[in-house]
C-alpha cells in the first residue's frame, strides 16, 4: 500500500462514529483548555487519563492528540481579546493580536488565527504522511552542540521581538535567563537559589510566570485605569478577515507552517520557540517592520500557524521513534503504554491502524476545529462586552486554578501572584514581557546543552565548530546579527527620501 492507501485506511478508521466522537471530544476539550489561561493540554490529558482506561486505544489516542493540537487553536483567543495568552505558545500572538482587537479588528484577528492554524494543521498532516520516517532520523542528528547553536540562533529573534527600547529588551531577556537558573542544577543536581524552599527545586515554571506576568498584571492595570475598558468604545469592524488580510497573511502562514513543523519535530524544542522565531522572521523580511506590534495581521497569522504546525511536528518523533518532546506528548506516550500499544520505531508496522488513524484524525480534527472556531468568533467578540468586574474575576479564577493544577502545588499559585505584581510594575515602567519569557524558555535548554557539549568534548569549545549543522546555525545567527547594519542604512535612506517627498 502506498501512502495514500494508508491515509485512506486512517481516514476510514477515524470516520467510524465512535472515533469521530472521541476526536470531537478531544478537539473540543483542546479548544476549551486552550482558551482558559493556565489550564493547558498537559493538565487536561492528565485529568482524562484514568477515564480512558476502558476506551479502545485508537479512540483514546485520537482524543489526546485532539487536545494537543486543539489547544493551539484556543490559545490565541484570549491573547487577542484580553492580552492574556491562553497557552505559552500564544504569547507572541498578544503583541499584534491585542492591538488589532483594540482597533476593533478582533474578528479578523481571531479568524486569521483559526484559518492559519487550519492551513498549518492540514499542511503538516501531509508532512507527517510523506516525510515522517525520513525527518525523524534527521531530528536525531541534533545532539547537545546542535541544540546549543540552535538556541543561539533563536536568541537573535530577540532583536525583532522588542518594539520599544532595545536596551530594556536585552535587560529583560537577561532577567529571563537568570530566572531560568533557579532550581536544581541540571548536571550536578545541586539546588540553586532555592532558599531551602522545596518547591523551588523544580525551578520557576514557565506557565506560572506567563499567567502571572500577562494575566494578573493585565487585570491589575485595567482595574487601575478604572473598570471601563477602552476596548468597548471602538466599533467592531467585521468579523472575518478581508481579502486584503488574506493577501497579507497567506505567505506568513506558509512560512510559519514550514518553520513550525521542522522546529517542532526536533525533540526538545516543542511549540513555544517556533512562535518566537516565526514572528522574528516575518518582521525581518517585512516591508514595514516598524508596524509590527501595532496590530498587523501577519504578526498574528505567522506565529499561530507556527504553533499549530509545531504541535503536529512533535508527533513525528513521538509516532515514528517513540520519543516524546514536551510534557503533553510524554503523557500521550505513557497513555499508549497503558493501552498496551508499544510506542517506538515499530509502531507504524505493528499498529498501522493507530499510526494512520491518528494521522487521519488530525486531518478530520483540524476541519472540526475550523468549523467549531469560526462560529465562535462572534461569541468571543461579544464576551468583550461582559461587564469587566465579572470578566476579570473569572479570568483571575482560571489563572489560579490553572497554576494550581500544574503540579497540585500551592507554591505555584504564590509564584504566579508574585509575577503578577512583577508584570504590573514592568508594564508601568514600559519593560516588555516577551523577551523575558524568551529568556526563560531558552535559558534551561541553553545551559544544559552548553555544559553537556563541553562534557562530551572534555572542555573544548571547538565541538561547536566541528559539527556541520552546528556551524550552519552559528553562521545564520551571525548573519542575522550583522544584517541590521546593512538594512539600517537602507532604511535610513528610505526615511530621508520619504521626508524629502
Amino acid at each position: 500500500m502506498d501512502a495514500f492507501g494508508y491515509l485512506w485506511m486512517g481516514l476510514s478508521t477515524v470516520l467510524q462514529p465512535i472515533n469521530l466522537l472521541y476526536c470531537f471530544a478531544g478537539v473540543f476539550c483542546g479548544t476549551l483548555v486552550g482558551v482558559l489561561p493556565g489550564i493547558g493540554p498537559t493538565g487536561a490529558i492528565a485529568l482524562l487519563l484514568p477515564v480512558t482506561f476502558h476506551v479502545p486505544p485508537v479512540s483514546a489516542i485520537i482524543m489526546f492528540c485532539g487536545i494537543m493540537y486543539g489547544a493551539q487553536y484556543g490559545g490565541s483567543t484570549t491573547s487577542i481579546l484580553v492580552n492574556i495568552p491562553g497557552e505559552a505558545s500564544s504569547i507572541v500572538t498578544c503583541l499584534d493580536g491585542y492591538q488589532m482587537a483594540r482597533q476593533g479588528r478582533a474578528g479578523p484577528a481571531l479568524g486569521m488565527a483559526a484559518f492559519g492554524s487550519f492551513i498549518a494543521g492540514t499542511g503538516s498532516v501531509f508532512g507527517l504522511v510523506f516525510l515522517a520516517p525520513v525527518l525523524a532520523e534527521f531530528g536525531l542528528r541534533f545532539g547537545p552542540p546542535e541544540y546549543f547553536s540552535l538556541i543561539i540562533f533563536g536568541l537573535t529573534a530577540l532583536l525583532y521581538l522588542a518594539h520599544g527600547s532595545m536596551a530594556r529588551a536585552m535587560m529583560m531577556a537577561l532577567l529571563g535567563l537568570m530566572l531560568a537558573s533557579v532550581g536544581i542544577d541540571p548536571l550536578t543536581s545541586y539546588p540553586r537559589f532555592t532558599y531551602d524552599i522545596l518547591a523551588l527545586r523544580d525551578g520557576l515554571g514557565l506557565v506560572q510566570i506567563v499567567i502571572g506576568l500577562f494575566g494578573v498584571s493585565e487585570i491589575l492595570i485595567t482595574i487601575e485605569k478604572g473598570v471601563r475598558r477602552t476596548i468597548f468604545d471602538t466599533e467592531i469592524k467585521g468579523l472575518l478577515p478581508t481579502l486584503r488580510d488574506w493577501k497579507d497573511s497567506i505567505l506568513p502562514i506558509t512560512r510559519g507552517s514550514i518553520l513550525g513543523f521542522f522546529l517542532g519535530m526536533i525533540p526538545g524544542i516543542s511549540v513555544v520557540i517556533p512562535t518566537f522565531v516565526s514572528y522574528a522572521l516575518e518582521k525581518k523580511i517585512s516591508k514595514h517592520p516598524e508596524k509590527f506590534g501595532t496590530g498587523v495581521i501577519e504578526g498574528v497569522a505567522a506565529p499561530e500557524a507556527a504553533n499549530n504546525a509545531a504541535s503536529s511536528g512533535t508527533m513525528v518523533p513521538l509516532l515514528s521513534l517513540g520519543i516524546p518532546c514536551g510534557a503533553a506528548s510524554a503523557l500521550v506516550l505513557g497513555a499508549m503504554m497503558i493501552y498496551g500499544v508499544v510506542p517506538g520505531p515499530m509502531l507504524i508496522s505493528q499498529s498501522p491502524q493507530i499510526f494512520w488513524g491518528v494521522i487521519g484524525s488530525m486531518y478530520v480534527g483540524n476541519l472540526m476545529l475550523l468549523l467549531l472556531n469560526l462560529p465562535l468568533i462572534p461569541l468571543w467578540v461579544k464576551t468583550l462586552k461582559t461587564p469587566y468586574p465579572i470578566l476579570f474575576t473569572l479570568i483571575l479564577l482560571f489563572c489560579l486554578i490553572g497554576s494550581y493544577t500544574i503540579a497540585n502545588s500551592m507554591t505555584d499559585m504564590v509564584i504566579m501572584i508574585i509575577f503578577g505584581f512583577v508584570g504590573y510594575l514592568m508594564k508601568k515602567f514600559e519593560y516588555e514581557m516577551a523577551p523575558l519569557v524568551m529568556g526563560l524558555v531558552l535559558g534551561p535548554l541553553m545551559e544544559k546543552t552548553f555544559r553537556t557539549s563541553l562534557l562530551m568534548s572534555k572542555g573544548s569549545p571547538a565541538i561547536f565548530f566541528r559539527r556541520p549543522i552546528s556551524v550552519v546555525l552559528l553562521v545564520l545567527a551571525m548573519l542575522v546579527l550583522i544584517s541590521p547594519l546593512i538594512t539600517r542604512k537602507r532604511l535610513a535612506e528610505k526615511i530621508v527620501q520619504a521626508e524629502e517627498e
Binding site: F53, L198, P267, I323, T452
Partner: protein, 321 residues
C-alpha cells in the same frame, strides 16, 4: 402480637447485619488518596493507577491518585509522613528516591525508616546498558576492554544525579575500574535520542523502555542489573555486582493501625493473582515481583537503604553542608 414480633425480629436482624458490616469494613470506610511523586503516565503513576482501580473495585471505595511531582516527590513525602495515621492518605514512590534523600540529605524533613510504615514493595523493571545497533561493542566485556584501553574516551548518557541509573553507572565505573564520562540528561527519552543520534557511545535506560527499540533493531542491550525478559546477561554474571534495581513501594505514615496494613496486604495478594491484572502488567512489559508482610518488608527496606548508604551525598545529588 405477631406483627410486633415480626418487627422486632426484623430490627434485630438489621442491627446484626449493620454490626457484621461494620466488622467487615473497619477499613476503608471512605475514599483513599494515594499521592504519587511523579507525573501522570510515568511508570510509577501507571502502576498505582491500575492498582487503585483494581483494589478500589474490590473494596467498592474510590482510590484516587494525586500527582505531586514537586521537588522529586519530597513535598508529597512530608505530607504523608505528617498525615493522620488512619491509612486514608498514602504515598506511592520509588523506594530508592526516598532512601536516597533519607541517607544523603542531612536536612531532609523525612526519613524512610523513621517516618513511614511500608505496605508493599516490588520490582518492576531492570536497568540496562545499551548501545546503538551498529556500534562495534557486541558485549559488556568488549565495552569494558575498550574503556580500559582508551580511558576517558567513551561518553554515556544517563539520567539525573542520584537516580538508580546514575548510581548503577557509577558502580560500573567503580567496579570495572574504568572512567566512562557520564552525561546527565533529563530522562530516558533524552538518553535514547542521544544514543540513537550517535552523540553518546552508550546509554542507560530500563528494560521496559528498551524493549520496543530492541524489537525494531535500533539498539543492542549489553547487560541488565536483574534478570529481565530481554534475555541479556546480568552485571553480576559478568562479575560486577550492580544492584540498584528500581523498586516501587506503597507507604503510609508511621503508626498506622495493623488492620489497615492487613487489609491492603490481602487485597494486593488477590490482585496479584488476578489474571486480568497480570495481563495488563505483561502488556506494559512490567515484571512484578511483590513483597508484602511486615517481617520481609522490614528486611528488604533495610537492604535497600544500605544500598544507597554506599554513596556519598554528592553522588546522591545532595550537597554536604
Amino acid at each position: 402480637m405477631k406483627r410486633r414480633t415480626f418487627c422486632l425480629v426484623v430490627s434485630i436482624l438489621f442491627c446484626l447485619t449493620a454490626v457484621c458490616h461494620a466488622q467487615v469494613r473497619d477499613y476503608p470506610k471512605k475514599p483513599i488518596q494515594i499521592l504519587v511523586g511523579h507525573t501522570a503516565s510515568s511508570a510509577i503513576d501507571v502502576f498505582y493507577r491500575l492498582t487503585a482501580e483494581e483494589v478500589g473495585r474490590t473494596w467498592k471505595v474510590p482510590i484516587n491518585i494525586v500527582n505531586k511531582p514537586v521537588a522529586s516527590g519530597s513535598v508529597a513525602a512530608s505530607e504523608v509522613a505528617n498525615a493522620e495515621k488512619d491509612g486514608y492518605l498514602l504515598f506511592g514512590t520509588l523506594v530508592g528516591q526516598l532512601a536516597s534523600v533519607s541517607v544523603g540529605n542531612p536536612k531532609s524533613p523525612v526519613h524512610i525508616l523513621r517516618d513511614f510504615d511500608v505496605i508493599e514493595m516490588h520490582y518492576y523493571a531492570a536497568n540496562v546498558i545499551f548501545v546503538r545497533a551498529d556500534s562495534p561493542f557486541k558485549s559488556l566485556d568488549e565495552l569494558v576492554d575498550y574503556a580500559r584501553k582508551k580511558p576517558g574516551e567513551l561518553v554515556a548518557g544517563i539520567t539525573q544525579m542520584g537516580s538508580n541509573i546514575h548510581l548503577d553507572a557509577l558502580l560500573l565505573n567503580r567496579l570495572a575500574k574504568i572512567d566512562i564520562t557520564l552525561v546527565h540528561q533529563d530522562g530516558p527519552p533524552e538518553v535514547l535520542t542521544g544514543v540513537l543520534g550517535g552523540h553518546f557511545n552508550v546509554g542507560w535506560t530500563n528494560h521496559v523502555l528498551a524493549t520496543p527499540q530492541v524489537a525494531a533493531g535500533k539498539i543492542r542491550v549489553l547487560a541488565a542489573d536483574m534478570k529481565c525478559p530481554l534475555g541479556v546477561p546480568t552485571f553480576a554474571e559478568k562479575g560486577y555486582p550492580i544492584d540498584l534495581v528500581p523498586v516501587m513501594g506503597l507507604f503510609g505514615p508511621r503508626g498506622m493501625p495493623p488492620t489497615v496494613i492487613k487489609t491492603w496486604d490481602e487485597a494486593l495478594k488477590t490482585m496479584m493473582k488476578d489474571p486480568k491484572f497480570q495481563a495488563s502488567m505483561t502488556k506494559l512489559n512490567f515484571v512484578i515481583d511483590m513483597t508484602t508482610g511486615a517481617d520481609k518488608l522490614d528486611k528488604l527496606l533495610k537492604e535497600e537503604v544500605a544500598r544507597y548508604s554506599r554513596f556519598t551525598p554528592e553522588e546522591l545529588g545532595w550537597r554536604k553542608k
